[in-house]
Subunit: 368 residues, 2 copies
């Protein structure tokens, strides 16, 4: 592990001070924002998410706002998913693509009003992308980054914590739906969402100056449930088959290759960016697909920092192991394989990892 | 200082192993790539750059390649600078802007051939931006990130080191000009450039597998000159008045506000993105400008992680201190002020820094 240098180029989260107080030990950079990645006790952080409730500073999931008469039109131009029936208060997971049908982000699109949308983005610059398209197509819409910062509450006890703060109405929220609210004068939106499969909410903080206050409100409400700090959990998200844009994708990945085909609507109008390419990819069939890979061996290995070549036992290269973690539930090293479509669950593979040949087996996703 | 977590989402540099061997201690993330920020001895690293020669892994300065019949046209559409007379082998510093005349990057544009350009970029996603424009304007050009990684050699002795490797022709290279070459079979381009005012070169590595070999060739050639590792030096670049895009700019900064007006050509054709807005900004006069600020006090302060509010002594806010470092040559804390144009060199100011009011004085740039 190396240190990360402070810099005005890397934007702090409104929850930064609170996470330091809570003992944050490590960060990554995501959308040029510091994103906590650990509080020093990975075992406790993992099981807290699985069995209890954790609170995460995910302010690095920035909101790209489309605002104005053409906001809905721009949202649909950008998203190869039918937004026609999307209503105010609803969110949709979108496989955002460029003109070639290549994945460029996988945001949640939240409809705040007929003329107002947020793209709650993964780690790539959709601000520049959306602005370029808006102006080149002469649309009447403002595109900017809204200073709105999600605080995630995740785990089986998350609903009880969030209901104890905002009321039982949160229990009725459908997945990816959201509702504006406020707590102790702090304006927020509460959404049922989050980058885990353990259930939970994201509380979108709309006043940057209130980060510590909101953090403390959640921490206090969570005390009876043994809430503690955490962050998007690489181990859990791989067990659960959740994609990391940029971590499990490269500059040629299309949605069909990484299990996002079910979020793509091919019958949207032709003006939607990427849809013509996506129709063709669908017709021809994608060249790669994403599977799980279980490696041999019972010892946890180091976390990933690069992709590893994946081969058949006869030495022929079939693709990559894009991420690899220790699964505490399977007690195996597991990872995502991005491999040629001929490679199928059950196949034996060899991963070239840190100079060694590690045998493994392809499996269906999710692992658990 | 906190740790940075390894992740397949953050791309390693081809020089990563070599920098670890050289004792790298800290990183930042720049264009989703790990960029070394220190080797544990900031004083030695600073004076090595000032008095001798340092080698820097700046692979994070990625190359966005435009290739095809319309490459030149796209380059000109993107750049509010006259590229008409730019010849093969020449590079130009460009204040890249969006349609509103807001700075979105400040790359060196290198012309490799009539149909081939590299934008050697600062920390923002010009890949998405350029691709959006290329397709929306139906241009016949490919836009992709070329896997080409600069290794900078900087300092007053840099020319001797680079000449001892490539020959005396490098001494004739004009600033920002470059020439393809090779060394021990490794394909490179040698450019006179680099993010310091101490002089030097950037050796663009074109074969990612040869990072350690190239590093070692430079280290070996530099031995007689006491070369050592370093990185873009926040202290030197602020003393020298060099801009950090994203560190000293925000989402409304235009080139005239931060001293880049001399790189803007307003007589380029109207199809150039941003030029109409830039003409208007120029006519109306920018609202802010960048000056230096010297703070009172003789003790080095912590490195910057946020902008600090800047006020008149009477309490009225006039702008921000965007970065602040200890100047070993001036023995003062200095920084960049981005302030209303009424604020002028010589004016007294107050900086709200870490909860304290720190008096300071505005000065002309560069500091040295």
């Amino acid at each position: 592990m190396f240190a990360i240098s402070p810099s005005a180029r890397l934007r702090p989260s409104p929850f930064f001070d609170a996470t330091v107080e809570a003992g944050v030990a490590a960060f990554t950079v995501y959308n040029r924002t510091l994103l906590p990645t650990g509080y020093g006790d990975p075992d406790a952080e993992y099981w807290r998410l699985l069995k209890g409730v954790a609170m995460w500073d995910v302010a690095a999931e920035r909101q790209i706002e489309l605002y104005g008469p053409d906001a809905g039109r721009l949202a649909q131009i950008l998203a190869p998913r039918d937004l026609d029936k999307c209503v105010v208060g609803q969110g949709k997971y979108v496989a955002l693509c460029n003109h070639a049908g290549t994945l460029i982000n996988d945001p949640i699109v939240l409809k705040l009003a007929e003329d107002r949308y947020w793209f709650s983005i993964a780690d790539s610059s959709i601000l520049f992308w959306a602005r370029a398209i808006a102006v080149e197509r002469a649309l009447d819409v403002e595109v900017f980054e809204a200073d709105v910062s999600p605080l995630a509450v995740q785990g089986p006890k998350a609903e009880d914590v969030v209901a104890s703060i905002f009321g039982d109405w949160v229990r009725e929220l459908k997945y990816f739906w959201f509702k504006p609210s406020e707590i102790e004068g702090i304006p927020v939106a509460v959404a049922r969402s989050g980058w885990s499969k353990q259930g939970g909410f994201e509380i979108y903080l709309m006043d940057r100056t209130k980060g510590t206050e909101l953090w403390n409100i959640v921490a206090e409400a969570g005390k009876p449930f043994d809430i503690g700090p955490g962050n998007p959990n690489q181990n859990e998200r791989i067990e659960s088959g959740l994609l990391s844009y940029g971590g499990d994708t490269d500059d040629t990945t299309n949605p069909f290759e990484v299990g996002l085909g079910r979020y793509v609507d091919l019958d949207v109008p032709d003006y939607v960016i990427g849809v013509e390419a996506l129709r063709q990819i669908k017709e021809e069939g994608p060249k790669r697909h994403q599977l799980g890979c279980i490696l041999e061996g019972d010892e946890p290995t180091d976390p990933p920092s690069v992709w590893f070549d994946m081969h058949r036992p006869d030495g022929r290269r079939i693709g990559d192991l894009t991420n690899c973690v220790w699964s505490r539930r399977l007690e195996k090293n597991i990872g995502f394989a991005l491999v040629e479509t001929a490679a199928q669950p059950g196949d034996a593979v060899v991963v070239k990892k840190d100079g060694k040949d590690v045998p493994g087996k392809l499996v269906e996703l999710p692992f658990i």
